[in-house]
């Protein structure tokens, strides 16, 4: 534990840019992300995409792990309601999302740090917009303190 504290100095404010974990479902949002690429849309290099088959695979543990490892925010992307490739996975994702938000509120984690968006395969533009917006919001909010506070057992 103590060792980790050392490696964990907050980067200087100037150098810091948000790092956002993006968890996208294979069929809609990941495809939209490809489309944004093919269409050469531009957005900030703040996201890191992890692909899952369906947003229904979203395990709250992924989110907590990401926060505790240093994610400034997490973006979950799935198919629009009614459009999930597996029929209903995204509803389950939505339920978990709202419960995690509730938990985050109690933990004093800003709700903006976890965002869920339904982005269909054709909405490359929307994807780029969402990432742009989110980057702006998180930049304003500042670096997440979670990793530091988790590692740093204050006495």
């Amino acid at each position: 534990m103590q060792e980790e504290v050392k490696n964990n100095n907050i980067q200087t404010a100037k150098a810091w840019k948000p790092k956002i974990l993006a968890i996208f479902c294979n069929w809609c949002t990941y495809t939209a992300s490809d489309l944004a690429g093919v269409s050469r849309l531009k957005y900030p290099a703040t996201t890191r995409v992890v692909r899952i088959m369906c947003s229904g695979r979203l395990d709250p543990q992924f989110i907590l792990t990401a926060f505790s490892e240093g994610a400034d925010a997490i973006l979950i992307g799935g198919c629009h309601p009614g459009d999930c490739h597996y029929a209903t996975g995204n509803y389950k994702c939505l339920r978990r999302f709202h419960l995690i938000q509730k938990y985050m509120k109690q933990m004093n984690i800003e709700p903006e740090r976890l965002r869920l968006e339904w982005i269909s395969a054709s909405e490359g533009k929307r994807l780029a917009e969402v990432i742009g917006e989110m980057t702006e919001t998180i930049t304003k909010l500042g670096q997440s303190k979670i990793k530091q506070q988790v590692a740093n057992i204050e006495k």
């Binding site: 534990m1 395990d59 709250p60 543990q61 989110i63 907590l64 792990t65 926060f67 505790s68 309601p81 209903t88 509803y91 389950k92 939505l94 339920r95 978990r96 709202h98 419960l99 995690i100 509730k102 938990y103 109690q106 933990m107 004093n108 984690i109 303190k145 979670i146 506070q149 988790v150 057992i153 204050e154 006495k155």
Partner: protein
């Protein structure tokens, strides 16, 4: 053998006493060298002991202040086997819920705000206080509650709030009999699977929950699974070993035994299960149903907040 309590309610020590006449068997095999609630051994006596001179230490309670931490280090050094005994030492336990507050919030509640407090001078405990006779010291109150293994190396964990006394006896006898001990770091006295395996309540094949209730809000039918009735039960995410004590007493499991092996964050995992069990599909209905869960974080992390991924409220 030693028994020590850190930030604890005392229940764990009582659970040791609960061995009743088996205590005689215990002391046949071991001398009790240190046990603050029963013996008059002083800290200095323990500090003076040789390293590794205690065969077995049961450390119960979380680490909350400098005294707890100091004794954790001392006992680690003096003990061959250090067991995190009970939920608080294992995962932070109920005292760990203090991680939902800051140190300042706690102190101001106790020394300023609470209705029974009369403290016009706003006196706060000081770590050191000079009196004519010299300097008085009281332990430093930490910002965070920690579980034992965040402070020192732990050999085994014996979970429970408090642990099942039978389990303690088994473990103790195993150690003294020189039987093959489980690998270091094991959680002992637990089953391999969640509570549900032993729970005899009837679980529905078509679980579909409209909303959640606090246990007193519904009339428990006594036979069906709590979750199916809309009451949050931690049993499915909690490792067995206690004999489903709470559910047998018609109270839902609160999760004191900790997670099933392989689960990294017990609260997150059960959140996933609980949210999934809802049947709402419309976003507003979902929000309403989720709203029916009172104190979500406190419920899902009742015993394990310091052990969770995000171990405290972020400041």
């Amino acid at each position: 053998m030693a028994v020590y309590w850190g930030a604890a309610c005392g229940g764990c020590c009582v659970s040791v006493l609960d061995v009743h006449e088996t205590l005689l068997t215990v002391i046949q095999h071991a001398d009790l060298v240190f046990w603050p609630i029963a013996l008059d051994t002083k800290y200095a006596d323990v500090e003076a002991m040789e390293d590794k001179s205690i065969d077995l230490t049961l450390f119960n309670g979380a680490v909350r202040n400098s005294e707890n931490e100091h004794m954790a280090h001392v006992l680690r050094a003096k003990s061959k086997i250090l067991v995190a005994y009970g939920s608080c030492a294992h995962m932070g336990g109920i005292p760990g819920l203090a991680n939902f507050s800051t140190k300042e919030e706690l102190l101001s509640r106790v020394y300023d705000e609470s209705p029974s407090t009369v403290n016009p001078d706003k006196v706060r405990p000081q770590h050191e206080y000079k009196v004519p006779e010299g300097t008085l010291e009281i332990p430093n109150f930490y910002e965070d509650v920690c579980m034992l293994d965040q402070i020192v190396d732990v050999d085994y964990y014996l979970p429970g709030c408090p642990p099942q006394t039978e389990r303690l006896v088994e473990v103790f006898l195993a150690i003294v009999s020189g039987a093959q001990l489980p690998p270091k770091g094991s959680v002992i006295g637990v089953s391999e699977r969640a509570q549900c395996e032993e729970c005899t309540r009837i679980k529905s094949d078509n679980r579909s929950v409209d909303r959640f209730y606090r246990p007193w809000e519904i009339e428990d039918d006594g036979v069906s699974c709590f979750i199916d009735q809309g009451v949050i039960c931690m049993g499915s995410a909690t490792v067995g070993g206690c004999g489903v004590r709470c559910v047998k007493g018609n109270a839902p499991c609160r999760g004191c035994y900790g997670p099933v092996p392989g689960v990294t964050d017990m609260g997150a995992k059960i959140m996933s299960t609980i949210a999934t069990a809802l049947n709402a599909e419309d976003e507003n209905d979902i929000i309403k149903a989720i709203d029916s869960i009172e104190d979500a974080a406190g419920t899902f992390y009742r015993f394990s907040l310091p052990a969770s991924k995000i171990r405290r409220k972020i400041q």
